[in-house]
Amino acid sequence: MTFSQNNILEKAFCFHCGDDCPDNSITLEEKIFCCTGCKTVYEILEAGKLCNYYSINDSPGISPTDIRLNKFEYLDEEEVISSLIDFKDDEIISVTFYIPQMHCSSCIWLLENLYKLNNAISISTVDFLKKELNIRFFHKQISLKEVASLITSIGYEPLITLQHTEIQKDRISNKKLYYKIGVAAFAFGNIMLLSFPEYLASGLKEEYYIHLFTYVSLFLSLPVFFYCASDYMISAWNGLKNKVINIDFPLSIGIIVLFTRSAGEILLHTGPGYLDSFSGLLFFLLLGKLFQSKTYDSLNFDRNYKSYFPLSVTVKKNQQEINTSISNLEIGDRIIIRNNEIIPADSILFTPIANIDNSFITGESNLIERNAGDLVYAGAKLSGSAAEFEVIKKTSQSYLTNLWNNDIFNKKTDRNFTTFSNAISKYFTFVILIIGTLLFLYWLPYGFGKSLNVLTSVLIVACPCALAMSTPFTLGNTLRIFGRRQFYVKNSQSVERLAGINHIVFDKTGTITQSGDSEISFNGDELNEEQSSLVKSLTSNSSHPLSRRIYSFLPAADMSYVKDYKEIANAGLEGIITEIEVKLGSREFVTGIKNDFGSAPDLSSIVYLSFDNKTAGYFQIQNRYRKGLSEVINKLNKKFSISVLTGDNESEKEKLFQLFGTKSEILFHQSPEAKLEYIQHLQSRGKKVLMLGDGLNDAGALAQADVGISVTDNVGSFSPSSDAILEATSFSSLHNFIGFAAATKKLVYISFGISFIYNIIGLCFAARGILSPIIAAVLMPISSVSVVVFATLSTNLLARTRRI
């Protein structure tokens, strides 16, 4: 049987956060709140005359998590402050916080009006896409700790982690690209205008003007050559040093020859040069670079464990609680972890019972109950009341973080992957050099000057600018199309790699199963309204993970008082409600019969229920597989070989084989290292591997795989470092994405073909030694524009026909 939750007639929604209110008891000025936290925030805002917050959007607020006074104690330490702040002078400190809760225009409004809450804040500015809040405050009047507490008190808790303090400065490069485009566009426009007289009035008599125009052009092109083109030449040089010929090599040859020949012609007064083509070429190339550099600002693809862990933890020493930074944590330290805090190192639980949320580690957000003496891994989150732990390993040596010591995380380069364009440019350069030399030798009898002219002409028209632009525009557009479908790819190289994969590895927990959402069914006689209210009342007293799930599964009902409530560890709950004895728990506890595992279909969690010692049936709680999983698998199975890795036991073996077919390899009991090694093993057999995972335990495998996709229910929350982030809602389109990436590869080849046609036309002119500046000036933009138009139109069209 299934219960629906729709039979509640009138639901009250919290005025502040819009959540359901359990009852209507918390009110203020006829406004209903779901909890005192929300009410407090409302009171703060009202006192600060900031209620406009509620008029911009309906219930925009965030229910505050518990606010502890000493939560930000570590922000008093000078060392921490200096690592966090942007700058400091005698009066003002500027600091940037990352605030993941920011979600609507009301948030922007409130956070930018912080000065109304506290005079010591001089200005606060929001960058919504990056979810960053920059605050400037007078540090003599308010401390950093107080600022953090203030924004936490209104529901916007800043996320302060190790990684955020370490990396924040990689965004300067984009600024440089804008500068370069600006300079190139300026030079391109002006040189083109100065070239017109030469083109339009070919018989211009006054030599004086022509020389003036060309000298001005040469002057304008200097910054283009020395500033805008520098990246290409540096890249080509680095490639040569590593004995690799990349696409930037023929480009650099083209650029250098274009510039030196033009400069030579102008200075020797032998011709007008090709400076308009030269500056236009760089302008288009840089535009392509900008188009390709589409980034998702609020997403972070390069997280390591440091971005999950807090900066400090409370250590208990000689009856005193001291905040200690994670890196100073020693083996044997007693640490106190509070609700929703992350355990920073492998430790042993000291408190009798604690509920642990392993979602960071496995991706599964189910609560697990742990007893005193149990080992808890770093990265787990505590849920419920505070607990004490003893550290048994340092943070950097813990089970999970140890993974980051693997070499794979130290390789910053794009491994040994060669892009299509780089692979082609090797042959391209070779062919062009041969053609150039042959023509040079052919024209040599007609004079050295003539043959040098032909050679440079060949190198100019062969400059593969259209070739260099087809990849960024095709793949850059693909990146955008994917982004619209909640599939965020890190860069265009990842799209290329995705096109080439032939083996797919899935992580089970959290990736193909839906985290948090489990399937609960009740086997036995259908519960009537009264019975279900009894069970709900009983479970409302327990914080056991299974009780909570059953509680939320049952429809809302009036609660009754539970007499003689008892919760027995590892057994179950019992209590007397309205004269009926209700028991809920293990089979042995409820029915008295020992567990014989044969009776249940698999090892999913089974909770028995009895009324007055009469067994009514059992609740079965199972992981639910993602929607559309079997269709996706069926489609992928036709093209790729598939493996499934899981850290779990073999309880769901049959179901997995049913889903994935018997051809697939399904491995159980996989440690994070084993997953990484499995990927390496596949790669050593020549496979190009796509890995889909979600937890920190997949981080190694995701990094090792040719393409690592992390699947997440909430973009921007926790996802390990990967090449792409796939929102769970788009999981069912996975096969479409892979197919589309492969198809765009073909489009890149076609646009290569188009650019070759222009190259051949240009070569015909060059070979005969009649490449005039005007032909170059016409041919070059046409070839670039047609490649760009083809790339964007064809990818959009393809996306439409494939329904992406």
């Binding site: 922007i108 960058d127 600006g182 300026f186 003036l212």
Partner: protein, 57 residues
């Protein structure tokens, strides 16, 4: 014809002015966040209405 030389000189000065304006705009962060200002500009009006209801609009 020498007026052309003067014109070119002036046109270049104007163009360089625009280039400097663009570089300044990039430097001052106008391309850093292209979303939030679009929301922010809508707030000021509402702000005035609530803060001083008697103000003349």
């Amino acid at each position: 014809m020498s007026v052309i030389v003067i014109l070119i000189f002036f046109s270049l000065i104007v163009a360089i002015g625009f280039l400097i304006a663009f570089l300044w705009a990039v430097k001052s962060g106008q391309f850093k966040d292209v979303y939030t200002p679009s929301v922010r500009v809508l707030f000021d009006d509402q702000n005035k209405i609530i803060d001083d209801p008697e103000s003349k609009h």
